[in-house]
Symmetry: C2
Subunit: 228 residues, 2 copies
């Protein structure tokens, strides 16, 4: 895979965790942020953590989209619609979008152990409505905690990839499997993102009740085995 990955909201913990894992795996990353300076700072920090061979840079969100073949959304849910509206005319038809966002109630001042009801059914379907029809979209990676991603240990987690587009599902699956330990599973249609997103709230509740930081999920009884 030689495609450049743009990570919108990539200065946040989830986005920078993904940038870290993928740059470490040799992928070319552009971190997007409202603030290009902050994006470049995050890119420089990650580069110094990984080493000089890391191909990672920062840009404002629109510029990150213009450079990337795959665009990964990692902004807080309330930032998602304003950003997608701003980017309305930035898309090219060969791009693919991967949505990792979760409509946690924390985004409106509530608990991170709850999700808010999204009219479309999920953050991913909300994103679908705000993207041009011709841009393929997959949802994935919602259940991989930022603390796990920031570390170097293999993650003990499965990642459900939901999409109505095979190309997007394939691209997301390949990206998931660049993260040591992560197993990508076919989560079915994009509409199933509503279940996957809510699992994040459940995992946050488990973290709180069990006093841990990185509860994850594995599915059993399936034919394929974890990739590491």
């Amino acid at each position: 895979m030689t495609r450049k990955i743009g990570i919108l909201g990539g200065t946040g913990p989830e986005g920078s965790g993904l940038a870290y894992r993928w740059a470490k795996a040799g992928l070319e990353i552009v971190i997007g942020s409202r603030d290009a300076v902050r994006a470049s700072e995050t890119a420089a920090q990650l580069k110094s953590k990984i080493g000089p061979s890391a191909r990672i840079e920062g840009a404002d969100n629109a510029s990150a989209v213009s450079q990337a073949q795959i665009v990964v959304l990692t902004v807080p849910f309330t930032g998602s619609a304003p950003l997608l509206k701003q980017l309305k005319n930035s898309w090219k038809s060969d791009q693919i979008v991967i949505d990792t966002t979760v409509p946690l109630a924390a985004t409106i001042g509530g608990a991170a152990t709850r999700v808010i009801g999204v009219w479309q059914g999920s953050a991913a379907e909300h994103t679908r409505e705000l993207l041009p029809r011709e841009i393929p979209l997959a949802s994935a990676l919602q259940n991989l905690g930022a603390e796990l991603l920031a570390g170097d240990a293999p993650v003990d987690c499965d990642v459900l990839v939901c999409s109505d587009d095979e190309k997007a599902k394939q691209a997301a699956t390949e990206l998931v499997e660049k993260i040591p330990g992560a197993r990508a599973l076919n989560g079915g249609k994009l509409e199933n993102a509503r279940i996957v997103e809510s699992i994040t709230a459940l995992l946050i509740g488990l973290n709180i009740r069990y006093k841990v930081h990185s509860a994850g999920i594995r599915f059993t009884g399936l034919p394929s085995r974890p990739t590491s």
Copy 2:
């Protein structure tokens, strides 16, 4: 634990699977059904499968409730409200109810890979509203497939127990851990049942896409280990 367990809807695959595992573990079971004859037939079948020491009998649902200290609801979601209304005056204050039901869209002729929206938030909260206030309720066991329960192998599954009542949570946890391989986890408040219930629809979708019959779920990154 010397308490008798009443399993309402216990002639169905989920209920009879639970009856099988619990009777095999030495618990005293009464299978409840609309039809006392069918309940007794199922009880006899399970007894012949387990052996003469199994303490398992059948009764109509109201009679099962009158005998049991713990009542487990395993009816299809559409049968739940009529049954609970019928049982309105059957409860005694020292009883505990465990709800295993899931509002699968299949119950209204839709797909088993989707849940329907329940006004109260979940089947469990719907049950809460139809039970007398003083009867403690926990939700659990929604994600353990009937095929797994019908077998003899340890299940490779965690079970989230959600409740607003510590006594009910404890009773459900003890029952879960009578099933070899099952690990009970504290799922928090009863309201979280909405997430746990929807995971059943996700597991059914994984069964279909991966051509298996018993996809299950484990949580990683937690301090305690599975019980077997």
